[in-house]
Assembly symmetry: D2
Homo-oligomer: 310 residues x 4
């Protein structure tokens, strides 16, 4: 399979169409809605196996909310973005469980690492009600839905596979649905902390070498899982690879025909670039200098959206 290097269904569809010169992909339906000048929703639905094969994602709904200039939004624009998230979320939740059934919200990531802190940050602002309904029911509306929230940390700091922690909690408190907030990979720097992907398929990590992350889905947990994913970084080698592709295009335009370049372009230079360019000890990422502020703004939009929906 083509290595998309993005978790966004939206971007994968575009890459596949471009690579195969297609207008439409069988098994994939798309719908766009411009909510306002700054907020756009794209709904990608994978309806059959051909669609699954094409872009390497399982059947289900993948809704992308793009927010322009999130760092400069006014309070009302933030409210609107949160509202858009709330509406999409309500629709997906309504398809799976009843009104008033328990929901557990899980924020993945390491809060000590700025671009990875989005999940735990959101959890801090999710309004939990389960304990009030259990212990102090007189203080809460009788129609309130029980909501609980955890930030399970990451394997590197807990020593425990995240799925195991979630499983343990799910078995004990028995929610009817899980909402998982996670960081995604994207190809586009413009989308860093400015795009939200909501899907009703849960989280299925790419099948990479040595990848020990496990899927967080109805298969592994027994309850429906809605994933809210936000791109927070782009890998440096992806950026350079994309730059080279642009550059080779330019060379080809000048040189008319050039077998060697054609050949080069077919290759995927990602691994070579990674080896040639990047020091081994660290994982280099491209990030806007304003990342700390971007993450705080996005955390606040996502937490508000979740609170409105629940």
């Amino acid at each position: 399979m083509y290595n998309f290097r993005t978790d966004l269904a939206d971007e994968r569809r575009d890459l596949y169409r471009k690579a195969n010169n297609l207008e439409e992909i069988d098994g994939i339906e798309t719908e766009e809605e411009q909510i306002s000048e700054k907020v756009k929703v794209t709904r990608v639905k994978i309806t059959n196996e051909q669609g699954e094969q094409a872009i390497g994602k399982v059947k289900g709904s993948y809704i992308t909310i793009d927010i322009k200039k999130i760092n400069l939004l006014t309070e009302e624009e933030k409210e609107q973005a949160a509202n858009t998230l709330a509406n999409e979320l309500k629709t997906l939740i309504g398809e799976k469980i009843q009104f008033k059934e328990d929901i557990l919200v899980v924020g993945l990531g390491n809060e000590e690492v700025t671009p990875d802190a989005l999940g735990p940050n959101v959890i801090k602002d999710v309004e939990v009600t389960r304990h009030i309904i259990n212990y102090l029911p007189q203080y809460i509306d009788e129609n309130a839905r029980p909501v609980s929230a955890i930030a399970p940390g990451v394997l590197g700091t807990t020593g425990i596979e995240t799925l195991e922690i979630i499983k343990g909690v799910v078995e004990h408190i028995k929610p009817k649905l899980l909402i998982v907030i996670d960081a995604l990979a994207s190809r586009s720097m413009e989308r860093i902390s400015s795009t939200i992907q909501i899907s009703n398929t849960g989280i299925i990590p790419g099948a990479g070498v040595g990848n020990t992350r496990k899927e967080i889905t109805q298969n592994t947990l027994g309850i429906p899982v809605i994933a809210i994913g936000i791109p927070t970084v782009v890998e440096t080698a992806v950026v350079v690879n994309d730059a080279l592709a642009l550059f080779i295009d330019k060379l080809q335009q000048e040189a008319k025909s050039n077998d060697y370049l054609n050949h080069l372009k077919e290759e995927d230079n990602y691994e070579q670039i990674k080896e040639a360019l990047l020091p081994k000890d660290f994982n280099f990422i491209v990030t806007p200098k304003e990342i700390d502020e971007l993450i705080l703004n996005m955390s606040s939009v996502v937490a508000r959206g979740i609170n409105m929906a629940l």
Copy 2:
């Protein structure tokens, strides 16, 4: 039972002896060791039911490490304090499980509230090895013990009773022993973030009205639980109550005999003080202005001590 308003076995024993004019309490053995000018260890052992009754703590070992002027310790003195903790911990662990058996470290508390952040702070610095032993055994000493660590948050922010989260994780990763780090109540302002109590009995919250915290012990979890507790605040009403007791002593010395004052002293004025003096909406505590720094210093000592012991 007398309301001790302290979780330290050490302080309870002293209060009981003073109130009853006793030199020794049946069923309680004590041993002191001055490790250095700044570090002192007191080992209190409750050996029978009479001891249990006297100070309201279950049978077991309660070891108190007092560290003087923790904010001014040199690197070597911190190392020494951590070392003292490591030695006591190793002894207690060695009585319960074998060399190389799994340990899970749990840091209780809310990291967003300064005096409550000690547990989560320690977790950040505990060296976890379980995932390395599982996934990358070639990178670690073959005698390393599997250690994992979680900070489960608090009921108010997760909506989930802490014991339920711990139970879920324990059932899934099946450690052989639990170490729990918790904040304690103390009567003495000098002990705030300067004293460590280690006990092999786990955590048994006081049986107060409306107290929904559950015990974290071998009874509830099925594996031995070692508790590391640190006093981080003193309640304002406790301080005022103690001040009044001193004051009444002084009045009595002057007035020679005074039935009314004697009567007053027998009463416990805590609830009245609380009502008369303290605004209802908040929980007022006495804390040193340097609490942020004290908590950081203590977190570092405890994390180092745990790392040495494991």
Copy 3:
């Protein structure tokens, strides 16, 4: 002079009236306004030397804004509180300088110590415009007032008397007015991070032994200084002293007459309590457990109020 142990003109006036059984104090005018259920404004004006003598504050306006349950305010209520601050501030500024004249905002305090971080926190959210007006005037409304903002730190971490830093900056950028945000002492636990005092007299630290803080006023800086002060802690000895006063009252009611107690009450037991009760190495304070959150909420209200006013 009576030792008021509060910086709030409001509280001093009440203490003075009570101690002297007065209804009115010559040279002090007071006006109250209930803005809403949760927000109340009290304006104390000291008009002559007798007023100055009575409560130990220099002539000028002292406006107190009390906000009830600041941690539970809705967005609109916060907006209203900020608006109230903005209005009072605009009046005081309008009496001193012209529309469009430069203002420098200074946030005193140590941001590493929770209750002392209010000033620096506010500075982070003040919208500065001076550099835009100087370097990119095309991007800003031509009627915008040049605003700049600094957090000069505290003597203990900079080694420099705060006044010296402010003087240096004032001489270089030549603002026409200074707004200084500072933490205050109060007698009342209810007012911690819930009350704002605005005054047009600047900051004049109490004349205590060994007090090396210097005044920040028109005298020392040559431009008008508006002080925004917020009580963030209460000293433990003050709380105990107040408790003892209540207690002695109660004893007297029972005992009818009691010369010894009368005598005791005339004394100020503060220093004795401090000595008897408090460990020497730390500065003990009473604080609500929710102080971290309270400080964040108050910082946001004050920053918004300043931004609206400027």
Copy 4:
């Protein structure tokens, strides 16, 4: 002049030698010292105008300390790195001022932005003595040097040009020497938060379009300025540009001769890449995912080095 896009004298010398096929550059002396397996010192001295012209830096000493794998250093290795910094610093200070003369340490940067927080972080750990020498001389060694420290913030958050704040403070407290800690640009991802450049020339920002930063040197302040600079980010366009250069090299090796490619290589593609590849609203940087931890480690090494030297 060639656009080096690095502030490291070390890297500029290498780029100049490579571009001009030189072994030595007239007016530039170099000396290397391997302190230990992980710590290397390179001393570059610019001795005349030809050297200045060649690499675009003024006459003076530029000492680079490279620390390998700073995130994995043991306590002793950190001590050694700090010690190396202390020794170089002591030499440079000793050439300018007397024993016991006042020093002011200034940490540039915005502490709210992770890669820019290094300067303010170091200031938090610098041991200041000036106020103790002034107010409590009995508590300090009589040979102690008066040290003070400030973090003046950045233009975007204060509205004030940093140089103006420093000037104001320097005029008031009259130190004899300034140490300024700053973030640098580098070409190499390996050097991010792993290299320290110390120079006795102060800070002279590149003469870019619209660059409003002013130099911080003896010229502008009247006292010697020692600059400690640490690379904390690499610009994305620099990385891609370097990748393209490598790529063109490879194409040329294959194609033997190729006028078009030669021509391309002579050009600097930086501006084109920036335009083609990077979204306009943000300033994209390449950074290791571990940047938060790297910055903390480097801050601690630099603060210790400064404390030892002073």
